[in-house]
Symmetry: C2
Subunit: 441 residues, 2 copies
């Protein structure tokens, strides 16, 4: 027992030191919790932590906790565990649950089938409300956690309708279930993507949604608490991608050094190789730089402004696409809007840049030479061009990726910035050549 | 009636063309929907859209829909509407609801008080389960949407316990409520931030959480469906900030031109002013650039690599702080981890840069002069320094902001990139001076 864990321990205390403990210590600390405290602590852990401590608990305790889990949660634990321990933990389940869990493990993790619980409350359409209440009461006694809605199934397990317990409650005892139930229930199939399940549950304010197989037979339910996790996970993935790395897929401190390098180094190398084109572009303008060193001073300022405005646009559009505020066919409206916004932003930033050159010259802070007004004009016009190109690239790339079937979030802010850096140099030196030729160039 | 809306219209069809309609057309289209279809369509709209169509419906229809809304949703609609129409819509509510709505409007929009519904099911602790079931049935007949949990209140409205309908159901009819209920219910206060409410509901897998005033009296409940919206909203805000703009606070296409300029131009200008320091820094190295133009070629490559690695680190840390995977006291572990990761990433990218210079020289693609090996070494060492500085700044700035009481998401990726650009130039030219002095400089 490590000195870092002090008795008496409660869940709150353990949660506080949780991040600094290794798996063995976590299991030891958890074993000290009692009753309700242990249950609520265990339930609140993500599957990866649950599986980590289950591996280090004595067999009897581990069995007890495996059996405590609902089938969908047990499946998540088995999915999170290292393969060599999977069989041992799976064997701890009672046979009925094991069969349910095996069925769940066959589904894609991010589809409705992989999220669903196979336990739900069912009644027949032709019984009276009074009889239905008795059936429901019977079913919830053994599995009280399963009562979200009451699903009305025919003899072939086809979903005919759905009602809430409160609707059943409010009905006259002699009414037939078929007359009370909602006959057009919202449902998903086993392969529906979890993001779509989340959107449906959100749109209809549901507590759970039924999952049907290809023959319309009901296989389980996905509940709103699983969806809350899905929404956070998907947002985290998008944020990581927008930041220019692969989605970590685990809490920051749980990601090992090599795995961290792989997830971040991959994209950084791609960006680096792309950014090498700036060196190539600069090579073409070597003579101009040699002649007018002062031009080089504004390179970082100009290309980063394009990158910033591009990152901004990309981020806004990627999020709007993810929330379905924007659809593919809106691309033209966005194009128009971004060109206008880009022109205005570029003109504004350009004015600041122009002022900087003129003021520094007049106040004697820096000497840009006798043609400083042309330099200032070059900076202004370049910023309009570069910022417009940034907003254009940043806003259209997510649409293009979506159209090609990729995740728009991959058009990460750094990726757009890199694209714009290279083009920004070309825009800058082209405008410089136009304005300064005959004087400085 | 516009030609774009074709009868017969259903909710699905209307949803498809929704984004291209103006408010009047939306109201007209909505008025064509019937019964369940209209109800489910109206319920699925965000408050801003609900308020927009309510303004354009005939008085009788608008009244009907205002009364259809639960008090918390009605409050959201009144909050979303332009002030000059607020009084008219408010007057459509029946007096009891109006009083409830007024009370809700007094709360901060992003605190538990602003999210809660004042309607919930309550029983006394000293009644039998049988009597409680009758009470609950009575209360849910008039307000069937309020039954998430059964709250046990004493005569002073103090919260004594909570139980689910299924627990009440499963209890023996003669048991006293006080013996069945959970005596330590999770609760929040009226001023609890919505993010904290969301985390609590998520952690304990609740369907609703009770809201207490400062005297421990129960005022309402926040339900899981409102929390789903909160989680999406907060993720969207963070994403927008990380992308370097203010949170838009509305769907992209609903944001007007001037408002869009303001939300994006503000941060872009700040970044631009910061980035001006690069021009100042470059000014100090004017002589070096004039002597060795080839040094300028690598400026964009080197500073953007620092920016990219910084953005990456900032994004990962900001998200981890938001998810509470990381706490303030973890800063030192993160510091260590990021320095190590930065050193490895910088060494890797630096090797690519070194190879580029050497290969281009040997293959005759570009002539970096006779001292190309020193140039290549400068690039390599600079990349290690710049990338390490990037990961350091990107990872520590979010901690610093959180420590100072600001939102870590404000340490947007572009903001970190700008900081790193300026420092990156200084690192690059300092290393160049060390390696090249005596030969090129």
């Amino acid at each position: 027992m490590t000195a870092r864990i002090t008795d008496p321990l409660n869940g709150e205390g353990l949660r506080d030191i949780w991040p600094i403990l290794v798996d063995e210590e976590r299991a030891e600390g958890f074993a000290l919790l009692v009753d309700d405290d242990a249950e609520s602590f265990f339930s609140s852990l993500p599957p990866s932590d649950q599986s980590a401590i289950l591996q280090h608990l004595p067999h009897a305790k581990a069995s007890m906790w495996m059996r405590f889990l609902a089938p969908d949660d047990a499946a998540d634990v088995l999915q999170a565990i290292e393969p060599e321990h999977r069989a041992r933990l799976r064997a701890m389940l009672d046979e009925g649950t094991r069969r349910e869990v095996d069925a769940l493990l066959a589904y894609e993790e991010d589809a409705a089938g992989g999220l669903m619980s196979p336990r739900f409350v069912r009644v027949r359409p032709d019984v009276s409300a009074d009889v239905a209440v008795r059936y429901v009461r019977q079913q919830t006694r053994t599995n009280p956690e399963t009562l979200y809605y009451i699903f009305v199934l025919d003899a072939g397990q086809h979903l005919k309708g759905v009602m809430s317990l409160r609707e059943l409650f409010a009905a006259h005892p002699d009414t037939i279930v078929a007359d009370v139930m909602n006959k057009e229930p919202v449902s998903v199939t086993e392969s529906t993507d979890q993001e779509d399940v989340a959107r449906l549950i959100e749109q209809h304010d549901l507590l759970a949604v039924p999952v049907l197989d290809e023959h319309g037979r009901m296989r389980g339910i996905v509940t709103v608490d699983d969806i809350v996790d899905v929404i956070r996970e998907e947002a985290t993935e998008d944020i990581h991608k927008l930041g220019g790395s692969e989605a970590l897929g685990a809490p920051y401190l749980d990601v090992g050094f090599l795995s961290m390098l792989k997830k971040r180094g991959g994209w950084l190398s791609v960006l680096f190789l792309g950014e090498m084109l700036t060196a190539t572009a600069m090579g073409h303008f070597e003579d101009e730089i040699a002649k007018t060193v002062v031009l080089a001073m504004f390179i970082p300022l100009i290309i980063s402004s394009g990158g910033n405005s591009g990152s901004q646009a990309a981020t806004l559009i990627v999020r709007s696409l993810a929330l379905e505020e924007l659809r593919l066919r809106d691309w033209f409206r966005v194009l128009f809007s971004e060109l206008r916004t880009g022109a205005a932003l570029g003109a504004g930033l350009g004015a600041l840049g122009f002022l900087r050159v003129v003021l520094w010259q007049r106040m004697g802070i820096f000497n840009y030479g006798e043609h400083y007004m042309q330099i200032a004009a070059t900076v202004w016009l370049s910023l309009i061009g570069v910022v417009m190109f940034g907003t254009l690239t940043g806003s259209m790339l997510p649409f293009l990726l979506r159209r090609l079937g990729f995740d728009p979030a991959t058009s990460s802010a750094p990726f757009v910035a890199t694209l714009v850096d290279v083009t920004g140099l070309i825009i800058y030196f082209t405008i410089a050549a136009l304005i300064l030729s005959g004087t400085l160039l």
